[in-house]
């Protein structure tokens, strides 16, 4: 008995057993909270299911419905528009500010805090309701424009052309984390490269295009992938600020998905939407990776 216990103890203390045991929480969590729900939803995406009645297998019906649903295509269009405008703008701002703050002065810490603060709390409900008030008819934005001579207040959130821009501005405003990533990448570029460029007679502008930018491409790529995924999944802000209104002009895919599954009870259809979303994100990520070798420099310094 004593010997047997000894061996068990011994087995548990081997490297591979310790590895399996230490990573066990993740293994269980991954199966229980990711794989199982995803399996369930994969099945439901092929079912007629609305929470109240039991699911009935219906083949590709949900996916066919999607193709013929005009609102579905509207939400895809809105989401693409949002992501393809807000993400590049966000990265450009992040890069410009990172370049500005790279120069270190006594004030750098304070500046960095100022520029990062919006990103820090930007995802909160507090900011969403603030934004809604800023762009309201009697909100600050109109008040400021009118102080500068605008005659009539603009209904920013009520106009199909402007509503999405309030959300884009909100997204661009939160460029802080990309900025911090750019900052740390900038710090890794050896000074000797700039010295060499200077000896060769390159001015600051040329140094930026020929040294800084090429060496930052892998960081830009990383930021682009991460932010694109986030861009496609924007939810909280649009759900609170516009709820897809007016006339579905800000109906993000995730909001559409939420409405279908939880407000209209079309759970099966919602599950199908989730899988299509996943496919779209995978496709976008794959496309980005496919273009990687065309513009990303991965050699050393």
């Amino acid at each position: 008995m004593g010997k047997k216990k000894q061996t068990l103890h011994h087995i548990l203390n081997t490297e591979s057993a310790a590895g399996v045991i230490c990573t066990l929480p993740f293994t269980i969590g991954f199966l229980l909270f990711m794989i199982v729900p995803m399996g369930i939803s994969l099945y439901y995406s092929f079912c007629d299911y609305n929470i109240l009645t039991p699911p009935v297998f219906s083949g590709l019906k949900n996916f066919q419905k999607m193709i013929h649903e005009e609102v579905f295509w509207t939400s895809v269009k809105v989401t693409f528009k949002f992501a393809f405008i807000s993400v590049p703008l966000r990265l450009v701002f992040a890069l410009i500010v990172a370049l500005l703050l790279f120069r270190s002065t006594k004030m750098t810490g304070i500046y960095r805090a100022m520029y990062y603060l919006p990103s820090m709390i930007g995802g909160s409900v507090a900011v969403a309701i603030l934004w809604k008030r800023l762009f309201a008819l009697d909100g600050v934005v109109n008040k400021i424009f009118m102080a500068f001579g605008m005659k009539e207040p603009i209904s920013w959130l009520g106009n199909t052309k402007t509503a999405i821009w309030t959300l884009i501005i909100l997204a661009v405003w939160q460029f802080g984390s990309s900025m911090l990533i750019f900052l740390s990448a900038l710090k890794q570029i050896p000074v000797s490269l700039y010295e060499a460029a200077e000896i060769d007679g390159a001015n600051k502008w040329q140094q930026f295009w020929k040294v800084t930018l090429p060496l930052l491409t892998s960081t830009i790529f990383f930021n682009l992938v991460m932010q694109m995924i986030n861009g496609f999944l924007a939810f909280t802000q649009s759900q609170i600020i516009t709820q897809g209104k007016p006339a579905d002009s800000t109906l993000f895919y995730t909001v559409y998905m939420y409405q279908q599954s939880f407000q209209f009870g079309n759970t099966g259809y919602g599950a199908a939407l989730a899988w299509v979303m996943l496919a779209i994100i995978a496709l976008i990520t794959w496309l980005l990776f496919a273009t990687k070798k065309l513009w990303v420099y991965e050699g050393g310094f």
Partner: protein
């Protein structure tokens, strides 16, 4: 030459500062508005400093709605955030140790799965998870908001800590082994105390993400007295429950207070966390 440089410096500071002020203007405006008399907020919207500093918005807001005070909502938020955060940080540390120090069958696959959870966003999982938790009878409890986090399901934190543990010299493990430590006591006695900086970074991020979480409570919490502050704030701001903007901004200000405090006291860890792991904050 010297003078030219000085002028350049001044222009630089003026520009960066001015643009920075534009950046934080909306937030400053909100905080300032919360101290204005509620009827004057929009008539004096272009003025930042209140004519008369009042605290009444805070007292009216604090009363909350549906007979539930904001004290309850904040208490709920605090409970959920802390419970989920402790779970995330502890479980991630153990899992990260396993990935960093042990080779075992299936490690590669498991590690890939872990990285995949970083790419797989909550929004895609919301319906599948909801159906699953409903089956488990977890709807309208805090379980969906806490339990999964005790299983290190957020790859970000595992990745963060694994990178950190990778940087701890293996000689320490060897020495401990010679002193009679098992793989498990090496973790508790050697690695765990050393991994603290990464755990603080993890604590900060996890706490803030949980505190701000809106989708989770929106799906799983139905009773008003169980609302966390994020959801309560949304309900409070709905035109049907209140159009008292002063009170709304006052509660919104309180709700971003924890993030602000963390930000100004622990900025160093935050910046480190974002730049080393490269994820959003």
């Amino acid at each position: 030459m010297h003078k030219k440089r000085k002028i350049g410096n001044i222009i630089y500071h003026v520009l960066v500062l001015a643009f920075g002020l534009v950046m934080i203007y909306p937030l400053v405006w909100m905080v300032m508005s919360s101290f204005k008399e509620t009827t004057t907020i929009f008539t004096t919207a272009t003025k930042l400093i209140p004519d008369k500093f009042v605290l009444s918005n805070y007292s009216t807001g604090w009363k909350g709605f549906a007979k539930t005070s904001f004290a309850v909502f904040f208490k709920n938020s605090l409970f959920i955030s802390i419970a989920a955060t402790i779970g995330t940080v502890l479980s991630s540390a153990i899992v990260a140790y396993g990935f960093s120090r042990c080779r075992f069958k299936g490690r590669g696959l498991l590690f890939a799965a872990m990285l995949a959870t970083m790419m797989l966003p909550a929004q895609v999982l919301m319906i599948p998870q909801y159906l699953w938790y409903q089956k488990l009878g977890w709807v309208n409890t805090y379980f969906p908001l806490i339990v999964p986090y005790w299983f290190a399901i957020q790859g970000f934190f595992v990745y963060l800590m694994k990178n950190f543990i990778d940087g701890i010299p293996r000689e320490l493990d060897e020495a401990a082994k010679i002193d009679g430590c098992s793989y498990y006591t090496i973790f508790t006695r050697v690695i765990f105390p050393l991994v603290k900086p990464a755990m603080i970074t993890g604590l900060i991020f996890s706490f803030m993400w949980r505190w701000d979480d809106y989708l989770g409570p929106l799906l799983y919490v139905n009773s008003t007295n169980m609302y966390p502050s994020s959801l309560a704030l949304k309900m409070f701001a709905d035109p049907s429950s209140s159009s008292d903007y002063g009170a709304m901004f006052a509660m919104a200000t309180i709700s971003i207070l924890p993030a602000m405090i963390i930000f100004f006291t622990l900025q160093r860890y935050l910046v480190e966390g974002i730049s080393t792991s490269g994820l959003k904050g």
